[in-house]
Structure formats: C-alpha cells, structure tokens
Symmetry: C7
Subunit: 95 residues, 7 copies
C-alpha cells in the first residue's frame, strides 16, 4: 500500500535504535525538546509559492533526517508505525 503525502508533507520512518549508536548522534538527556532521527519514506509534490508555482522539496526518499521529537502525525501503514510531517518540521539532513 503506497502513501503519497500531500503538498509539502513527508512520510518518515522513525529510527529509534540510532539514539544509542556510539560515535554518532546521541540525543542529550535534558528537559528541552529533543530531536529524533528518521528516514524519509515518501515526499509530497511540494507547496506552492505566491504565484501558485510548486516549490521543489529539499528532501527526498532515503534521506536520513533530524526532526523535533513531537513533530508529525502517527500513522500505521502495512503494519508499520510511520509519521507524516511538514518539510518545515525537519531540522536537517544527516549524511
């Protein structure tokens, strides 16, 4: 079952295990909102600018991203827990 996010939304798989990877990105234990790591599964066609033209998305399927821990809406697709969020909720791309 394929899911295509609308406008500037992306479908994200949360990478829980990465939080404990040594030498990589580790979420600090503080009271502040903590960003999470994820992988882009699918992207929308992009929002539209003031002239109604599409704005190209800056992320693509396969990108590993960092996003605010409470960003997005949880869905279960083919039994898998995924997140739908807006591109603007993404903090950056990990390479």
């Amino acid at each position: 079952m394929a899911f295509t996010p609308l406008h500037d939304r992306v479908l994200v798989r949360r990478l829980e295990g990465e939080e404990k990877t040594a030498g990589g990105l580790i979420i600090p234990d503080s009271a502040k909102e903590k960003p999470s790591e994820g992988e882009i599964v699918a992207v929308g066609a992009g929002a539209r600018d003031d002239d109604g033209d599409r704005i190209a998305m800056d992320v693509k399927a396969g990108d590993k991203i960092l996003f605010g821990k409470w960003s997005g809406t949880e869905i279960k697709l083919d039994g898998e827990d995924l997140l739908i969020m807006k591109e603007s909720d993404i903090l950056g791309i990990i390479a």
Copy 2:
C-alpha cells in the same frame, strides 16, 4: 442532489470499515489525534493565489485519502453522512 465545494474545499466520504482491514492502514490506539481514511466525492475549483489566479487542486474525486480525525464539517447529503474539509486538511493520498 449534487454538492460542489467552494474554493479549495473537498467533499469526503469517511471509510470507517478500513480501520480494521488487515495488511492495510490501521489507526494506532494512542492518545494522539488519529488520522482517518476517506474517499474524495467532489472537489472545489481551487483557491486563488496572490494574483487572483486559481491554484489547481492536488486531489480529485475517487482519491482515497488520509485526514485528521477531527477535520471537516459533517453534513448529511441524500441521507449519507459526508464531510466538507479544506484540501490542506488532507495528509496524503493512498494508492
């Protein structure tokens, strides 16, 4: 009786039964707002950009969509319960 949504609104038939379909989309049992599945029945002509030109709709009648559970206004049309919502309330298209 036909109903044509105005501007960037869409008319949606909620697909309640799909919540229990195996191997498909299952709404998780959590405290977060849960998205619902639906089918587009009719679409408006589109909103207008800053120059007053129409912005084409990204969904069409027949599309199966995911939307926020509390999105839209309930109406009963020819005895059927339907929803009117804005295109921006749609999370994405299921194919």
Copy 3:
C-alpha cells in the same frame, strides 16, 4: 429596497424549511457545528488581490448554498430576515 454587499460579502436568505426535506440535505443531530442551507440574494463586486485587481466571486444570486450555522450578521430588509456573510463562509453550492 436593494442592498449591495461590499467587497466579497454576500446577502443570504436562510432556507429553514429545507432542513426537513426528505431525500435532500438533512442537518445531522450532533454536538458539532451544523451547516445551514441558504439562497444567495445578492453578491458583492469581489475582494481585491495583492495587485488591487478584483477577484471574481464564485457564487451568484440564486445559488443554493451551505454555510456554517453561526456565520454572518443578521439584518431585516423590507421585513425579511437575511444574513450578510463573506464568500469564504460558504461551504459549497447545492445543485
């Protein structure tokens, strides 16, 4: 006595009797805000876009519409109760 709504406003006659019409639109008995049915009596010349140009109205006098129950300002014109609302308060057109 004629009344011409300003900008993107419309003058609407509420169609109360339609709420009970069989086979047509019936407002559901729920706690949610219920849309009402009405008929467009007069329309404004339209709002203006960012360049100051008129945006054509999507409804015209005679259109049967659905609108949010609490939309608009009540006025009495030649003894008749009417409503003035913005075009954006209209959910769609019934045909």
Copy 4:
C-alpha cells in the same frame, strides 16, 4: 470645517431615525451585534496594494450604508456627531 479621512477610512453620519422606518431596513431585536444604517460624508483616497498603488474606494460620499453597530470612532465635527471607520467595516450599500 472639512475633514478628509486618511487611507481607506470613511466619515459616516449615523441615520438613527431609519431604524423605525416601515417597509425599510429594521434592525432585529436579538442578542447578536446589530448593524446600523449610515450615510457616507467623506471618503479617503484609498489604501495601497502590495506594490504601493492606490486601491480605489468602493463607496462614495452620499452612499447609504450598513455597518456594524460598534464600528468606528466617534467624533463631533461642527457640532454634529459623526463616525470614522474603515471601508472594510461597511457591510454593504443600500439603494
């Protein structure tokens, strides 16, 4: 003493007596905000669009209008009570 409203403002003379005119506009006795009838005394040169160009006013001196009862700022000019309001506070023109 002449008063020229600035930008998209208008100077309005409230027509109190009209509230009781038979066969004309009668303000309903309800708890909702009631519109008032008035006459345009003077209009500003118009607001400016995003390019800084003037947007022509849709009302002119002499127009009989309907406006929200609590709209505008009261002033006394040459002993007469008048109101200064924005064109967007005007609901429509009575002819």
Copy 5:
C-alpha cells in the same frame, strides 16, 4: 534641534486648545476612546512596499490631523511636548 521620523512615522504637536473651539471639532464626552487634534511637525520618508520601494506619505508638515488620543510616544524636543506616531494612527486631515 531637528528630528526626522523614521519610515512611516510622523512628529505631531498636540493642539489641546482646539478641544474648546466653538463651531469646530469638539471631542464628545463619552466613555469611548476620544480622538485628539494635532499638527504635523515632520514626516518620515515613508515605509516600503513588498518590492522595497518607498510608499509616499499622505500627510505633510503643517497638516492639521485627528488621531486616537492614546496614539504615539511622547517626547520633549527643545522644551516642547511632541508625539511620534505612525501615519496609520492618523484618522484624517482637517482643512
């Protein structure tokens, strides 16, 4: 000591005595915010539109204006009490 207001600001001298002038503008004694009369002392070069171009000011030094009683910031310049406000705080020009 000269003072040049920035952007769309104006420097205003409050005309207190005018409140009691017979046959002219008299501020009504009500609980509503009362406009005050003033004279433009200096004007800024104007705000900028969305393209960064200047928007010409609609008032000039010497204009007698009406403004909301609580508008502006009080300053003392060469011993005189003056007000700095935005052009949009001005209700209109008295001639």
Copy 6:
C-alpha cells in the same frame, strides 16, 4: 573587536548624559514608555523584500537616534555596554 549586526539590525551606544542637556531633547517624567537617545555604532546589510532583494537601511553609523527605552538586547563589547536592535525599533534621527 568588530561586530556586524545581521539583516536589519543596528548596534547602538546609549547616550545617557543627553537626558539632562538644556535646550535639547529631554525625556518627560511620565508613566508612559520613554524613548532614549543613542548613537548608531554599526548597521546590518538590511532585510530582504519579498523578492529576496536587500532593502537599504535608513540609518548609518554615527546617526543620533531616538528609540523606545526597552528596545534591543544589551551586550558588552570590548568593555562597553551596547544595544542590538532592529531598525524598526528606531523612532527617528536627531540632527
């Protein structure tokens, strides 16, 4: 140590002593927010308009300005107390 404000920000040296200068600008003793006098130390390259073009700054280093007493963020640069504020926080230029 040089500091270059970003975008439409300016670096300001507060001129406390000027408050007591005879024949010049004196801050009135009232309960209202009082403007302060200052001198521009450095200016940013300017904000960008809707097309992404720079908007030229209206103040330059050396200008004596008036600004809202509570405007800006305090910093200490090379032992001197300075303020960083946005150009829009400046009320006008004293000459």
Copy 7:
C-alpha cells in the same frame, strides 16, 4: 557524521569560554535575556522568497556569531553538543 541544516537553519557550536575573555565580549550580569557567542559549523541552502527562489544565507561556516541565549535546539553530534537555529536568531557577526 555530517549534518546539513535545512532551509535557513544553521548548526552552531557554543563558545562558552569566550564569556570570560578579557578585552572581548562579556555578557552583562542582568535579569535581561543574555546573548551567547558561537561559531557556525554548517549552514542550510537558504529559505525561499515569495517566488520560490532561494535567499542566500548571510552567514557561513566559521563565522563567529552572537545569538539569543535560549535560541535553537540542542543536539549531540559525534559526542559534541551543538545547536540548530534559524539564521534570524543570529544577532550579528563578530570579526
């Protein structure tokens, strides 16, 4: 592990030690929000203007900046505490 901030975001290394450097920038001990010093580690490709075009970033990797103490989201990258913030959170560049 490389991290590329999205849009107009930047990755910043907080320079804690600089707060005590003699002859340089010292954060004052007051109740007001205090700016912090940092170094740009990586910058995004830039936000987009109303036409969907990129707006070039005004900071680059290596720039020493001043930013509001509570700006940004804390992340740990390869064991190092870093901050992700928007370019608009940066007060200016220290040179």
